[in-house]
């Protein structure tokens, strides 16, 4: 029995580590590239540990644009974007999953349908709409679309549908209003999903490039991906600088990820206590 368990542990870690290595290879290469000088970039075979590590690439990234301001803009946009998405999507999802209303099925299908048209052909029309609303060159143009995120609504609908109705019924019998049922019962039970959603939403907003580029023409409002794109020339790409920039822009997401991960555990607890 003990023997079998050990075997299971060994198997578990072997599998887990193999996948981890596969997942990490490109990341490690990015890391090593970012410490290389330009000449050492593309040697064959790959030079995993730079022979002469240098911070040149990082210095270039930091000296190229007002770093703090850019990060500040990106954080501001992404945090508000994520909060609005979480709120708006969870509300809609609650209505779809737990409040019966006519045309709910049809409406959910309309929500889904909006994901099916490539943004490549709606981008100019959306630009025109934004222009009509005088939103160009305002943070609103980048943040406001977060009030409708069909992917988020759909994900939360799926999660809320698994919540047993008895929980909600019990709460409403105790005299809770619909809003109270929503935020006291339904939301806490969705915490793992909300945590997941906050990572993916934050990341999407954080990495978004073309739309902020179109909307925020004022240099003072520049976001990080746009700032990083200023490191590329027309003919040549300095991969070490590119990778240094990419790594720096990954940090906030990793931080948020670690933070959100804690909520996975809280989610279990919430489920456990209430159940």
């Amino acid at each position: 029995m003990i023997h079998k368990k050990r075997l299971g542990t060994a198997g578990y870690y072997t599998a887990a580590i193999v996948i981890a290595v596969l997942a990490m290879i490109p990341f490690l290469w990015m890391l090593s590239t970012s410490f290389k000088s330009r000449g050492a970039l593309m040697s064959v075979p790959i030079e995993w540990i730079p022979k002469e590590p240098t911070l040149k690439a990082y210095i270039k990234v930091f000296s190229k644009f007002p770093f703090l301001q850019t990060i500040g803009n990106s954080l501001f946009i992404s945090v508000i974007y994520t909060l609005i998405t979480l709120l708006s999507a969870s509300m809609a999802a609650f209505a779809f999953a737990k409040l019966r209303f006519s045309a709910a099925d049809l409406l959910l299908k309309v929500f889904l349908a909006t994901m099916m048209i490539p943004t490549q052909v709606t981008i100019i029309p959306l630009f025109v709409v934004m222009n009509k609303m005088n939103l160009i060159n305002t943070y609103g143009s980048v943040i406001l679309p977060s009030i409708f995120r069909p992917f988020a609504v759909f994900l939360l609908v799926q999660q809320m549908r698994t919540i047993p109705n008895d929980y909600l019924d019990a709460a409403s019998i105790d005299g809770a209003s619909v809003f109270q049922v929503y935020y006291k019962v339904a939301l806490p039970l969705c915490i793992p999903t909300l945590a997941t959603l906050s990572i993916t939403t934050f990341m999407e907003s954080w990495n978004d490039y073309l739309w902020p580029l179109l909307m925020l023409t004022d240099k003072a409002k520049m976001t990080l991906p746009i700032a990083l794109s200023t490191l590329n020339g027309q003919y040549a790409t300095e991969y070490n600088v590119l990778m240094a920039g990419a790594l720096i822009s990954m940090i906030p997401i990793i931080v948020i990820y670690c933070f959100a991960q804690k909520n996975f555990k809280n989610g279990i607890m919430a489920g456990g206590i209430k159940g």
Binding site: A20, A92, A103, M116, I124, T196, M203, F264, I268
Partner: protein, 307 residues
């Protein structure tokens, strides 16, 4: 779809109760989605080049060509070839991605030492930009010196030319996409697994169920809503496969990886035929919608809500 979700006779139903919850989404839907989509329907009926001022005076009069774009797309060889390439991707990608991300999620759901670290590491590919990922994958998949073919050679297999080979380019794209997405879908499935009430497992343990039985009797059935989500979303995303194609092959070799959205982008922004691109998109829309409708219809057979 009747009867999914549902608070049987709950007193608080009805559109009036639901509407405050829906208003923000509905406003966003109308302004940021339906309005542009409606405009693009009109564009698809024109020969607009995507450069002239949109909706200047007499725009429709000058550019209207009826259903001509649709006719010429559906009768072109290119459309069917590109649809075939897209379907090839989907057929290879979805089963592989599901298998990998369910495995990843199961692995990460275990209460083992260090699982928190693995959860972070597995998500790294999602965070890695396509530019960086494609550079390294091109090196790994390089036919002569690449790591992949060197490893295959150890087993006596002569590896193909991958991205340079017309037959193998799409499977290579699938491989890299699965690598990139496994963390994303793995995470969604993981939060589904974690959301499963622990009392089910406790009850099963009392009955003496082993881990395998637990997985197939409890985890998998209760995970079906999350799996269903992953299938719907990944199908929609796969039909719109784009960045990895642009960065890794740009549609080559010899058109073997040209897919729907790659064509739409090129027609709209490179060949200046935005009307044609819009019509192309609406055809794609109909295709995706039909596939999704099939999935929705089938869900009652296997998706398990409200246990």
């Amino acid at each position: 779809m009747k009867g999914n979700g549902p608070g049987k006779n709950r007193g608080c139903g009805g559109l009036i109760t639901a509407s405050p919850f829906l208003v923000p989404s509905l406003i966003g839907l109308a302004i940021f989605y339906l309005a542009p989509m409606l405009i693009s329907v009109f564009i698809s009926l024109t020969d607009w080049n995507g450069l002239d001022r949109l909706f200047a005076d007499g725009f429709m009069r000058q550019h209207y060509i009826g259903l001509e774009n649709y006719r010429s797309i559906l009768t072109s060889d290119e459309f069917w070839k590109v649809l075939g390439n897209t379907l090839e991707y989907i057929v290879l990608y979805i089963p592989l991605m599901l298998l990998v991300s369910i495995s990843v999620a199961t692995l990460l759901s275990r209460q083992r030492k260090g699982v928190g670290v693995f959860r972070v590491l597995y998500y790294i590919p999602v965070l890695t930009s396509w530019v960086a990922a494609s550079l390294i994958w091109k090196t790994i998949l390089a036919p002569q010196f690449g790591a992949m073919n060197n490893i295959l050679a150890l087993f006596g297999i002569k590896g193909p030319g991958w991205l340079l080979d017309e037959k193998w380019a799409m499977p290579a794209i699938v491989l890299v996409s699965v690598w990139k997405d496994m963390g994303f879908f793995g995470l969604i499935l993981l939060s589904g697994i974690i959301g499963i009430n622990t009392s089910y497992y406790e009850a099963a343990a009392i009955d003496g169920a082993g881990p395998v039985t637990k997985f197939f009797r409890i985890t998998l059935p209760l995970l079906t809503p999350a799996i269903f989500y992953v299938m719907i979303v990944s199908l929609i995303n796969s039909f719109q496969l784009f960045p990895q194609i642009m960065i890794m092959t740009d549609g080559g070799p010899n058109g073997a990886t040209q897919v729907m959205v790659e064509r739409i982008y090129k027609y709209g922004f490179r060949y200046f035929q935005m009307g044609y691109a819009s019509a192309f998109s609406w055809i794609l829309f109909v295709i995706i919608m039909l596939c999704t409708a099939l999935q929705l219809r089938g869900q009652n057979r296997w998706v398990n809500y409200d246990s």
